[in-house]
């Protein structure tokens, strides 16, 4: 048995190229699909915002038209907080996917913040006229690195709070959104950038992380509800 000199096959340049094209195709497909799904998400958020905007406008108009007689009707209406809360979650997810600097995300957040303020003002008017006492929490946060180390924890606390008390209305605002209305609100509520997270409970501002116990101590009515819902579990 003898071996003869072995000749290596020629370098398969065509195969290298075909492989490159196939791999490139997979990459491009992944990127295009990602863009497509992100666009779908953004349009879904936009349509949610439009829906909420119409609802608020409709409620405002109805309120203006009927004045005091409308209390029964209005208090029987489904509250918007659930929709706003769901929209907030979707917006937060999209922000995590596309980045906080994405212009579309910033635009959606601005719109969302304005809707929150509108809803807050409307509910205030409704509450005064109809003698309702909704629990409202304003939450100011920052997503900028190093600016608010406790904002994540505060987010967890408030998420848990609304889970246990679905009727609580929590309005969250990005301190750095760059919207004049938010700037006015932060000035009115005396929210400082270096003391975030900032929370407004019963019209009183609290700086720094407020734990669940802290919030329940300030809002004792919630403590009863929370205890009941926990006991139910």
């Amino acid at each position: 048995m003898e071996t003869i000199q072995h000749k290596r096959p020629a370098t398969p340049w065509a195969k290298y190229l075909i492989t490159f094209l196939i791999t490139g195709f997979i990459f491009v497909t992944a990127i295009v699909a990602n863009n497509y799904f992100n666009d779908k998400r953004i349009s879904q958020i936009r349509s949610l915002e439009t829906g909420i905007s119409i609802d608020i406008l409709s409620l405002e108009t109805q309120f203006d038209l009927l004045q005091e007689q409308s209390c029964k009707d209005i208090s029987g209406k489904p509250v918007l907080s659930n929709e706003l809360d769901s929209l907030g979650h979707k917006l937060a997810f999209t922000e995590a996917q596309l980045g906080a600097d994405n212009p579309q995300v910033i635009s959606l957040k601005k719109h969302y913040s304005l809707l929150e303020i509108k809803d807050m003002l409307l509910m205030k008017k409704v509450s005064e006229k109809c003698n309702l006492k909704p629990t409202t929490i304003l939450y100011f946060y920052s997503n900028k690195k190093g600016e608010c180390t406790d904002c994540k924890r505060q987010g967890y606390v408030l998420t848990e709070l609304i889970k246990q008390n679905p009727d609580v209305r929590i309005y969250s605002f990005d301190y750095n959104i760059g919207l004049p209305a938010i700037t006015t609100l932060t000035e009115m509520k005396n929210i400082k950038k270096d003391a975030l997270p900032g929370i407004v409970l019963n019209d009183k501002t609290y700086s720094g992380l407020q734990s669940m116990d802290d919030i329940l101590a300030i809002l004792p009515d919630l403590a009863t509800t929370t205890a009941t819902s926990t006991a139910k579990k």
């Binding site: 048995m1 003898e2 071996t3 003869i4 000199q5 072995h6 000749k7 290596r8 096959p9 020629a10 370098t11 398969p12 195969k15 290298y16 075909i18 492989t19 490159f20 196939i22 791999t23 997979i26 990459f27 497909t29 992944a30 990127i31 699909a33 990602n34 799904f37 992100n38 998400r41 879904q44 979707k90 997810f93 996917q97 994540k152 924890r153 967890y156 606390v157 998420t159 848990e160 734990s211 669940m212």
Partner: protein
């Protein structure tokens, strides 16, 4: 896009490119493989010697020799040389119990490493083909027939088998089972590209005349099988693979043993890569020089980077969950499903494609080595391998840079 993200996508692109390249090559040669039918003419079979180097192998060497005695091969054409390489346990006395078999020769020497045992046995053999079987491995009865058939091609200088994990019992061994399945596929495809760079210890065979031509086994930084293969490639020798020649090898049961084995392998590759650096990016060595060797080297660094990123991201998630737990206690995850939250990032889609392709490659490896395709080891491999590999890759790099030597055990 940050630099780390660009590096991540570049690494994923190269990994995916490599897998696609292997798959294309496999399908390119599929028809050839199908046409290879076994048709044995006993008279035409070459004389063969199997060398069994042993160092403290008292637990397994008996079964190894028994499996060799069961080989379907003409008795007058097969010789087995067991070399006791200075064992300090009962290996020698176990070997001596086999001396009454005409086919078996037992040699005893001072410990000098596997390559020295191989070279000693080489002097006692005049067979046309010479193979090695590690003393912790067992062959299937028809393995040598399949191997010998490959030597009918006069261009063939060496033939590698398919190696499977013997009796995997714990999770670590199941992960290795899938890993070996992938290695069977890769070795088969590398052979089609003339790009094998390891002739594994368990049951690789060499034409004796070629060994005499290129020189005996060397220490090769404790990876003599890798060094010999690179040397054969350097001499433009053809090395093929026979996936139906099946060998079962004992695998490390503990992480420590696995870690030591893999550090030795990776260390050996890195050191031999330095010795044979002239083959890298050298068109004279075809796909091996231009693509496989450079990519294998880069993959050590890129895999370390990829898995470090994975570990980092997992660590960040764990810390987040701990913070959440500290803040609000145990959370019951929401059972509501909303397509909106389905992860569709380009990164996750590409990683999914990579893992799916890995699954396909392992399955092909299992198919060509006559194994069950669907088993529990593949998901285990996909879930766990990424977390353990960086440990020995980093360990090998450290040893190359700082210690400059590894131990066998």
């Amino acid at each position: 896009m940050e630099i780390s993200q660009i590096a991540l996508f570049a690494t994923l692109f190269v990994s995916l490119y490599f897998e696609v390249f292997l798959l294309i090559t496999y399908f390119e040669h599929l028809q050839n493989d199908r046409n290879t039918l076994i048709d044995i003419d006993e008279d035409a079979l070459p004389t063969a010697t199997v060398i069994v180097p042993c160092f403290n192998e008292e637990k397994t060497v008996g079964a190894t020799l028994e499996s060799l005695l069961q080989l379907t091969y003409p008795k007058n054409k097969l010789r087995i040389i067991a070399v006791n390489d200075g064992s300090s346990d009962n290996t020698l006395s176990i070997l001596k119990t086999f001396e009454h078999h005409n086919q078996i020769t037992v040699l005893d020497k001072k410990n000098g490493g596997k390559h020295s045992a191989m070279n000693m046995a080489l002097k006692y053999s005049d067979s046309e083909i010479i193979g090695c079987l590690d003393a912790d491995s067992y062959v299937e009865h028809d393995a040598l027939l399949y191997i010998a058939k490959q030597f009918e091609d006069i261009h063939t200088s060496a033939v590698t088998p398919s190696i499977k994990i013997h009796n995997p019992q714990n999770i670590l061994q199941l992960v290795q089972k899938a890993e070996y399945g992938l290695a069977i596929f890769v070795r088969n495809v590398f052979a089609h590209m003339d790009s094998l760079f390891i002739t594994p210890g368990p049951f690789s065979f060499f034409r004796r005349s070629v060994i005499l031509e290129v020189g005996p086994w060397r220490h090769g930084h404790s990876t003599e099988d890798l060094e010999m293969c690179l040397r054969l490639q350097q001499h433009n020798k053809k090395i093929t693979n026979e996936p139906r020649a099946i060998v079962h090898t004992t695998s490390p049961k503990t992480f420590k043993a696995l870690y030591n084995q893999r550090v030795r392998w990776t260390f050996g590759f890195l050191k031999n890569a330095v010795d044979y650096r002239h083959m890298f990016f050298n068109g004279k060595y075809g796909t091996l020089g231009l693509f496989i060797l450079p990519l294998s080297l880069v993959s050590i660094f890129s895999a370390t980077f990829l898995f470090a990123t994975l570990l980092w991201n997992t660590g960040v998630k764990i810390v987040e969950e701990i913070v959440r737990f500290q803040t609000v206690g145990v959370q019951v995850p929401s059972m509501q499903f909303d397509m909106f939250y389905f992860n569709t990032t380009a990164l996750s889609s590409i990683v999914f494609a990579l893992l799916a392709l890995t699954f396909v490659l392992i399955s092909i490896g299992k198919k060509i080595s006559k194994d069950k395709i669907f088993s529990f080891d593949i998901p285990l491999y996909i879930a766990l391998y990424g977390f353990i590999t960086p440990l020995w890759l980093a360990g090998s790099l450290y040893k190359v840079v700082v210690k400059d030597k590894v131990r066998w055990r």
